[in-house]
Symmetry: C2
Subunit: 111 residues, 2 copies
DNA sequence: TGAATGTAACTAGAAAAACTAAGTACAACG
DNA sequence: CGTTGTACTTAGTTTTTCTAGTTACATTCA
């Protein structure tokens, strides 16, 4: 992993929500997805991912069900709830604002 | 504070370094600067700021000295070291990459 | 005069998120 | 039948930020 996780911290929930808005999914798949999408530059540690699932389910942004795999390892699928969808939209707005603020605070120029 | 600190987390050090690259400064001033620059949208809590100073001084990115105020509250000034300068440049690169990665992971479009 | 406000730094202890470092279980493949 | 891949889980730790204070001096103004 080349990019420090501190920079991605705070985005874990949004990343998960986004993926679940595309389709119901499960931990292992989401993890692989992130690695592929970022060409291995970033990966969520399993423990991080699964504890995020637990947190998000507790606050009602996602819900889960066991898949009906007849073969292979069992999978716990997650769905995003309507509350979760709203949270995603809000997080996106916050992110746009954060990008702007961070740029203002860390870039050259400006007294 | 309107923006969640989780999104700014990880940028505290860079914000401080940037400010010190402009001029030697001290905690209170940096705090006020951030509030003004962001129109009150964001503020570093004092404890956060001072513990960041301690951390950065420990790893040698900044160093400090007492100001020679003859009146008013004493000030501890901080300077950025050459190591700190390099760290700032690296952090900026990481941030540019992080922006790109985060956008790729949380935005619509893309399977 | 003395109460409030502003400047300035500091601390102890708690919380949250992510981490390390495991373990369990099943399937496939050579 | 040993290794690799899929898939989930947990215990305990680290790091950063937070809450909630304290101390100290200066100025303002009622």
């Amino acid at each position: 992993m080349s990019i420090t996780s501190d920079l991605l911290r705070g985005h874990t929930d949004t990343i998960i929500l986004r993926r679940l808005m595309h389709q119901d999914s499960y931990g292992y798949e989401i993890n692989k997805y992130i690695q592929e999408k970022t060409n291995g530059e970033y990966e969520l540690k399993e423990a991080t991912l699964y504890s995020a699932f637990r947190r998000l389910e507790e606050i009602g942004w996602i819900s889960s069900y066991w898949g009906d795999e007849t073969t292979g390892a069992r999978r716990r699928y997650y769905t995003v709830t309507s509350t979760g969808r709203k949270a995603y939209e809000q997080n996106m707005k916050d992110w746009e604002q954060a990008k702007y603020l961070i740029d203002a605070l860390i870039k050259e120029g400006g007294e």
